[in-house]
């Protein structure tokens, strides 16, 4: 049995089907890349696993995390999982942190929420150092707007891994970043995602290839192709995949 097993997952918003009978599995140290253009259903899939879709969404099928069924799970129990057993990293580090709260306090909150003890400043600084922040004390005492995009994303990664979750879902984690910072953050992710399962959602094949071996390609809510990332790039079977590869090559 795999660590994460998604089976026949379907998400509807009213009459529109955002995710259409999708299934995949990830081992406890495995990584899966989900590739697609905007509107392909890749983000909805990841939000469905984290249980963070808006209440208008209707989710059917099965999502099993470490043997536990997540579809239909009571919100109270889901809340216990989020931030401890599964965590997420989002696209926009600019807006993903509370602008009115110091970064250190926001990180300490993640510990406090799940261990029923307050996050010590030293722990927070150690965690910030772990994600490659050079002056953790200053960063911890800063408000988000006082940090660079890369520092903010590192802080969010620290929040995501602080409770050693079994599954980390990364939703376009480098799209909003500069090329130079993107390279560094991808390196950091590669490092912190070892020993745990990870989903890596992106529209950019070149980015996904940096961290994942196995990928699935989504279009209109369906999986149209899957396999080893290099194989898919070299010999795309589906026409849509071929267009994505061409777009990533940048050749006109």
């Amino acid at each position: 049995m795999s660590f994460l097993e998604v089976d026949d997952l379907t998400v509807r918003f009213g009459d529109t089907v955002a995710v259409d009978h999708v299934g995949f599995a990830v081992e406890d140290t495995g990584r899966l890349g989900i590739i697609g253009a905007s509107g392909s259903g890749k983000s909805v899939t990841s939000l469905a696993i984290a249980g963070l879709l808006s209440e208008t969404a209707r989710v059917t099928g099965s999502i099993r995390l470490d043997g536990q069924e997540l579809v239909g799970l009571r919100e109270r129990e889901y809340r216990e999982l989020r931030g401890s057993k599964l965590s997420m990293i989002f696209q926009e580090p600019m807006t993903a942190l509370d602008p009115t709260m110091r970064v250190g306090r926001q990180i300490a909150e993640v510990i406090a929420l799940h261990e029923r003890r307050s996050g010590k400043r030293l722990t927070v600084e150690a965690e910030l150092a772990r994600v490659g922040i050079r002056d953790p004390q200053r960063v911890g005492e800063s408000f988000p707007h006082q940090l660079s995009g890369g520092q903010r994303q590192r802080a969010l990664i620290a929040m995501a891994i602080i409770n050693r979750p079994g599954l980390v879902i990364c939703d376009e984690p480098t799209t909003a970043l500069d090329v130079l910072v993107q390279k560094q953050i991808l390196g950091l992710l590669d490092e912190v995602l070892t020993d745990r399962a990870a989903l890596f959602v992106s529209h950019d094949l070149a980015v996904v290839r940096e961290v994942c071996r196995h990928i699935i390609v989504m279009e209109h809510g369906r999986i149209v192709e899957q396999g080893d990332v290099d194989d898919v790039i070299a010999t795309p079977e589906h026409e849509y995949t071929a267009r994505l590869v061409a777009a990533a090559r940048g050749t006109l």
């Binding site: 905007s38 509107g39 390279k183 950019d204 094949l205 070149a206 994505l244 990533a248 090559r249 940048g250």
Partner: protein
Amino acid sequence: MSLIEIRGGAVTYTRRGVPFVAVRDVDLAVEPGDRVGIVGGSGSGKTTIARLMLGLVRPSAGDVLFRGRSIVTGSPDELRRSASLVFQDPNSSLDPRMRVDRIIAEPLRRRATPVEIEEALASVGLDPQHARRFPHQLSGGQRQRVAIARALVADPKLLVADEPVSALDVLVRGQVLRLIRDEVTSRNLALVMISHDLTVVRELCNRVCVVHDGRIVEAGPVEDVFQRPRDEYTVRLLEATLSL
């Protein structure tokens, strides 16, 4: 004589009462038919250089010359008749309350004939029926095509494109870039392409300027800079660029 030339240009903004230098010591000349790429990270000042070039910001030092005449001390009117800009986000660069035909006709400073509108739409690959639509009734790629049609309608000599595809969906980026390349070639325009994406610049431009911290740290023919980068920042930038 250069089409447009920035000499020792610097721009200082005041942000919440604190002055800060966006770019400085910028020397850049664009010849007719030249295709110049300006690359750099966000906040490096590359957009400011474009705005400086079009007279949308006043330099705090240096001068901007159009066909040898200063647009800082003189009037930018002649420049504006000969230069146009394609913005990053077509959602905000098209007036949401104007129909496509009025948007496209704006640089003409007169009412355009239906034939002119049809030709302008056709040149960017849009059907004439789009003329009476509002921007929000179009897709992102179509909107950017409308913005390009507006930029080309008054027959400019210089086209400045500021990250023209980074707000678009991956799959339509290539189409829009191809459109820009084809129009620039067939009309023999000078192009200034601002982008964080080195691959795009490599495909479209013959010269490139690398901007870092408000300065041009390296400039030269595209192949030279990409094959034999001299500046340390350019080296890092090239190393960090992922491609298949």
